[in-house]
Amino acid sequence: MLEVRVLFFARSRELAGTNETTVSLEDGSSTKTLLLLLFQQYPQLEELRGNFVFSLNHEYLGTDEEQQLKAGDEVAVIPPISGG
């Protein structure tokens, strides 16, 4: 098993009801697997389906980009940004 840290921001934080969680995954799991798991664990995230991206260790992933995960990775749910 591998554990990754998952951060929620803005609307996703409100929907998930938390700003952070740790998720355990099979070795070799990818960000796609994580996505499915998150929707199961936090069904309210459905409101944001297709309207957020992941970041992996402080780098954005493309909307359909799939990356392998490893222990200790930091993934964040990134709703549309509105800085500035």
Partner: protein, 149 residues
């Protein structure tokens, strides 16, 4: 929920995410340079209305370590695309009342065109790339904003 800020300095570039009120002159002074003949700066301020609704305040939330990193990237890219002497970018987190600054950019260069163009490019790039979110609190509700970028 107020997290400590982060300030990064890499050569001529300075990037900061902070919960504290932003003072534009601090960043203008930061980019002062004897070789600079021009200093361009931009301040993003909380407006009293948005799409006809009276804004009460804005709440900013940042993925702080990644936001600081991305602000630095904006800075460094501007420094490579233009003849910039020094540049500083700072974004505030937490509550920003009407009239208060949420973002400050300051750029110095020998000739004015570099500073002016880099400053304009930087605020556009920031809005497109920095993981910061703005919730608008207005009379009767609140809504998370989305930049066009």
């Amino acid at each position: 929920m107020e997290q400590p800020g982060v300030a990064l300095q890499e050569g001529a570039c300075y990037a900061e995410v902070t919960p504290d009120a932003l003072d534009q002159s601090k960043y203008v002074e930061l980019v002062a340079d004897p070789g600079a003949g021009a200093i361009a700066s931009f301040v993003g301020v909380t407006r009293n209305s948005f799409q006809g609704k009276a804004t009460e305040r804005l709440e900013y939330e940042a993925y702080i370590p990644m936001a600081a990193k991305k602000l630095m990237e904006v800075c460094r890219q501007a420094c490579s695309k233009w003849q910039v002497r020094r540049m500083a970018v700072a974004h505030r987190t937490g509550t920003v009342l009407v009239g208060e600054a949420s973002v400050v950019i300051a750029v110095s260069s020998a000739h004015r065109r570099d500073a002016l163009e880099a400053c304009h490019w930087a605020i556009d790039e920031l809005k497109a790339t920095v993981p910061i979110w703005k919730k608008e609190i207005f009379q009767g509700g609140e809504v998370w904003k989305e930049n066009e970028e």
